[in-house]
Amino acid sequence: MNMEMGPAIAADEITDDPLERETGMGEVAPSPWGRVFRRFVRSTPAMIGLGIVVLLVLTAVFASTLAPCGQGPDFPPDLGPQAGHWLGTNSIGRDLLTRLIYGARSSMFVAFLVVTIATSVALVLGLVSGFFGGWLGAFIDRCMDALFTFPPLTLALAIAALLGPSLTNASLAIAVVFVPGLMRVIRSQVLAIREETFVEAAHSVGVGDTRMLRKHIFPNVVSPVIVQAALAFGYAIGAEAGLSFLGLGVNPPTSSWGVMLEEAYARILESQWQLVPPAVAILLAILAFNLVGDGLRDALGRESIAVEGS
């Protein structure tokens, strides 16, 4: 039992070889990213997750083409699922399938903005704190510790409410609460890399700070950042739904899965089934990004050092 981890890794390494021969890539020394890619592709849950993610992104991008109806309240209210309105209509006569499709756009927009903002900020703070340290690093660390003490949703709600409800403000608010967690991952990775022999070697041949950060530290931080970003995508989708549910995300005519949940919840006695489409969409979207994140983590797991120099 307690010996399982060792043989498990060895067995995995052996299975790498036939696979490489099968794909005809045995002769070429596989690049680290190639190995990561092959490991990721072999994981069924990760591929299912990736499939859903691709569908979601396509739905968000082509929402106006895919939507069967206009977004306006042009139909009889509270229709059940039927031809022409596959998911029925809501209480003011908007087509629910159309709203669900446009909701994907709100979700993806917020999640993308949140992850981009939070990752960029966390990357700068994490590199500065981890690599340079000193009083500035200590100050950044304390600020992150302080941000970490706020329950994420509570702080995001306070910021979103004070800035005023809009998708961009909601994204900013959610991004703020994601920064400390991401920054800690990046910082600890930088601290670990700094102790590696290749960094010491580079330092001893006179490599400067800028080049060290760009060529040696940064490439090694990329893989944990990718994993965290994928997981953050999932959380951001949940947070957007929560904020929109409370009326602090999208403004009324715009669709969002959170708003759809709120509409269904407000009239749960009359139209209980309207809860199902947004609920399924939220669950699948978060699950998909979590599966991709977990798959990436497993695939990148042993590659964090090997990726260096690629």
Partner: protein
């Protein structure tokens, strides 16, 4: 031990300063003049606004305002609501028992779900039970608590009509009514929490079960149960207990949507109303308190750990 606690508390001073600064800075996000909000919004008279500016010290510099605010907070004065004009500390303390009931029940459920499943998955690592638990926890982790809350209301309150969809009964008024009204919110918060904890426990237990002392314990013929629960579990509990402390703090300070959908009159609902009124003192008060709860719980977990593990205390 005393020295360790003193060192930890001293380290909190800069942290608390930054927390208070962040909370105070929330006022800067408010577009427009808080004095107008306090003086009644659209109906505000110039004289009323002037009085409000004076009351909120808006004519002083940002640093002076911060100083005054911190001074008040240290004395337990979080200001008063712009709207119902009750003090924030009074309103929070009258609502806190509701939120505490919610969070404690959710914490108990989190532990009841997370610990056994995590241990089971670790002991059967790679087997069918492990895979079921790991997959189940992935799905449960993809359910935001408010999402699960609504599904539960839909199932148990609307379709089956077995449990109330919301409302609150005090524990002292009717223990049975108290529990009946809290089962669904407890499940809504406890299931995703338990799933997260199960993953933590599983990871920590797998690490612990690989240690030499476990092999030694098994080699000298100790029963598996003793090895798992006595040797491995004790050593595996650091990370999960820390995560649990954080989770409990977040439940106490972050149950806004759960309290809204289950119409529980707790701190989260108070916060929710304040968000829509842009009731700055209430927003700042709740955000500050939720951060302080985190700090205190985190300190308690660390001290407990130092007490149990001399390596932490002296390291």
């Amino acid at each position: 031990m005393g020295a360790y606690i003193a060192r930890r508390i001293a380290a909190l001073v800069p942290l608390l300063l930054i927390i208070s600064f962040i909370v105070f800075s929330l006022s800067q996000l408010l577009p427009g003049d808080p004095a107008i909000v306090l003086a009644g919004g659209q109906k505000a008279t110039p004289a009323g606004i002037a009085r409000a500016r004076d009351k909120l010290h808006l004519d002083k510099s940002f640093v002076e305002q911060y100083g005054i605010w911190v001074g008040d907070v240290v004395q337990g004065d979080l200001g008063e609501s712009f709207f119902d004009h009750r003090t924030v500390s009074e309103s929070i303390s009258s609502r806190f028992p509701v939120t505490l009931s919610l969070a404690i029940g959710a914490l108990v459920l989190t532990v009841l779900i997370g610990v056994p499943l995590g241990i089971l998955a670790a002991v059967r690592q790679g087997g069918i039970v492990d895979r079921l638990i790991t997959t189940g926890s992935s799905v449960a982790l993809a359910m935001p608590d408010f999402w699960l809350g609504m599904i539960l209301i839909s199932l148990f309150a609307v379709s089956l009509k077995t449990l109330p969809s919301g409302g609150y009964v005090g524990l002292t008024d009717s223990p049975a009514g108290w529990a009946t009204h809290l089962y669904l919110p407890w499940i809504a918060m406890g299931v995703p929490g338990g799933a997260g904890l199960a993953r933590q426990v599983r990871g920590a237990m797998i690490d612990a079960l690989e240690q030499d002392y476990v092999r030694t314990a098994e080699a000298k013929g100790l029963r598996r149960r003793v090895v798992v629960f006595k040797h491995a579990l004790k050593n595996a509990s650091l990370a999960p207990v820390t995560v649990l402390g954080i989770g409990f703090a977040y439940m106490l300070g972050g149950s806004v949507i759960i309290e809204r959908i289950f119409t529980l009159p707790g701190m989260g609902q108070y916060f929710y109303i304040a968000l829509f009124n842009k009731d700055l003192p209430v927003i700042q008060g709740v955000v500050l308190l939720s951060a302080l709860i985190f700090v205190v719980l985190n300190l308690a977990v660390d001290v407990l750990y130092a007490y149990l593990n001399p390596k932490v205390r002296l390291g």
